[in-house]
């Protein structure tokens, strides 16, 4: 549920289940990421609570929910990771876990598609292209 006013059509964020859906998804997703040897070096060795807050922001964004991140924020936040080798293959792996997480939560396929498209739209910003 969202506290924001909802005049007409329900947003993806609302249809998918709002903050409760984000909370359910984040831990499932982060466990997958930390267990994936292709990408866990980009997520480990940091403060876990901060990481979880970041994943929450990521899911809120992917669900089209309230977030104020701009393309520039995304670039700046990931610049250090790009220097360490972050590329399309890693982004693909994250997308894979995003899809699997939402499937596990029984989110309908069309909504998963919408969320994936939103996440996909920040690929170039994240990879600094």
């Amino acid at each position: 549920m969202s506290e924001e006013a909802t005049p007409t059509k329900a947003t993806l964020y609302e249809r998918i289940g709002g903050e409760a859906a984000v909370n359910a998804a984040v831990e499932l997703f982060y466990r997958k990421v930390l267990s994936d040897h292709r990408i866990n070096r980009f997520f480990a060795n940091t403060n876990m609570d901060e990481q979880i807050a970041k994943q929450k922001a990521f899911f809120t964004m992917a669900f089209g929910g309230p977030n104020t991140y701009t393309g520039t924020d995304m670039r700046n936040a990931h610049a250090a990771l790009v220097k360490r080798g972050l590329d399309d293959s890693h982004f693909d792996a994250v997308m894979e876990h995003l899809g699997a997480t939402l499937q596990e939560l029984n989110v309908p396929a069309d909504l998963i598609g919408e969320a994936a498209a939103i996440a996909e739209s920040v690929r170039n910003d994240i990879l600094g292209k």
Partner: protein, 334 residues
């Protein structure tokens, strides 16, 4: 319009304005990022009234209980006095009433305070010597003893406070004692929840406080304690914990030794690894981690991957102070 007090500063918060916006309008240097209650950068603490419910959503129960809240989600309902950091003030004085060795490197310090401390088992205080030298130590007892506090002070080579506490500090000497601090503590709200506690060295102190508090409160879930050290000499309170295990069928104690000879009744390996091998799943468990920062950080992830929810993982990393600066966020020993 509500009045907001921050230290010596008094300011206004309009009715259609969040506390974060009001603080920024008054040019208060407060960290913030998402402004949507997600990133939790702008967490602050109310010193008087209970903050609005909505502004505490997503915070840990221990933070909510201590009136922490998110400034970006707060439309103040009353006038408020707030604090930005967790910096605690000194509020009472204590007298050393007991000093006894727990093992070759750790002394049990008992301090009788002039005022009763309203603390939660597992929290820490700052102890201050007359010349201002200050270090943080975890309270090792339960809330039953609100005026006589006990601490486990480990001697570190070159550690100015700990060497003084082991050497010159005498029974009858006085110290200043701060307000209790820290978010790694026990709340009795879910007595059926299983608990895992892992500590290294003097990390046993807050865990022992948490365990005796939980048992006194009638905690019914299983309580597993893994206490680790390099060698047998680094452990202490072994008989006491074994006696507690005899007394309470839901308390399970495993002393762990990571190097050298391992006598009967001890587990071989690092405490966190022994624990993770012994317990197949941690779904819906509460986890407390105290001690060496590397152990704490590594075990957080291990426990999370075993199914513990991040909101149920409480930790206190013991950092060694390199200089005089007292730490604010985490327990410091030296």
């Amino acid at each position: 319009m509500k009045k907001i007090v921050l230290g010596n500063q008094e300011m206004s918060c309009q009715s259609d304005e969040t506390l974060l916006d009001a603080l920024l309008r008054h040019e208060v240097a407060i960290p913030y990022s998402c402004r949507q209650g997600v990133c939790q950068s702008c967490v602050v603490r109310s010193l008087d009234v209970v903050p609005p419910l909505l502004s505490q959503r997503g915070l840990k129960d221990v933070q909510q209980k201590q009136n922490y809240f998110l400034a970006c989600k707060c439309y103040p309902e009353h006038d408020m006095e707030i604090a930005l950091s967790q910096q605690a003030s000194f509020f009472t004085e204590g007298t050393v009433v007991g000093k006894a060795l727990l093992n070759t490197e750790t002394v049990l310090l008992s301090i009788q305070c002039n005022d009763a401390l309203d603390f939660y088992a597992g929290q820490f205080v700052n102890l201050q010597r007359a010349d201002g030298l200050t270090r943080s130590y975890s309270i090792a007892n339960s809330r039953l003893h609100a005026t006589e506090l006990t601490f486990h002070v480990r001697r570190l080579p070159g550690g100015r406070f700990s060497e003084w506490a082991h050497g010159d500090l005498q029974i009858g000497d006085t110290l200043k004692v701060s307000e209790p601090q820290g978010l790694c503590f026990y709340l009795p709200d879910r007595p059926e929840q299983n608990m895992l506690l892992i500590g290294t060295g003097s990390g046993l102190a807050p865990l022992a406080g948490i365990i005796s508090e939980a048992l006194q409160q009638g905690h019914t879930g299983d309580i597993y304690l893994f206490h680790g050290s390099r060698d047998r000499e680094g452990l202490y309170w072994i008989e006491e914990m074994q006696a507690l295990q005899q007394q309470y069928s839901n308390f399970h104690y495993t002393p762990c030794i990571s190097n050298g000879l391992v006598p009967d009744g001890f587990a071989q390996g690092r405490a966190n690894d022994v624990a993770m091998q012994a317990l197949p799943k941690l779904n819906a468990w509460r986890v407390y981690l105290c001690g060496h920062p590397d152990m704490v950080n590594q075990t957080k992830i291990q426990a999370f991957l075993k199914g513990a929810s991040s909101i149920d993982i409480y930790s206190d990393a013991f950092h060694v102070t390199p200089d005089l600066t007292p730490s604010s966020a985490t327990t410091t020993i030296s």
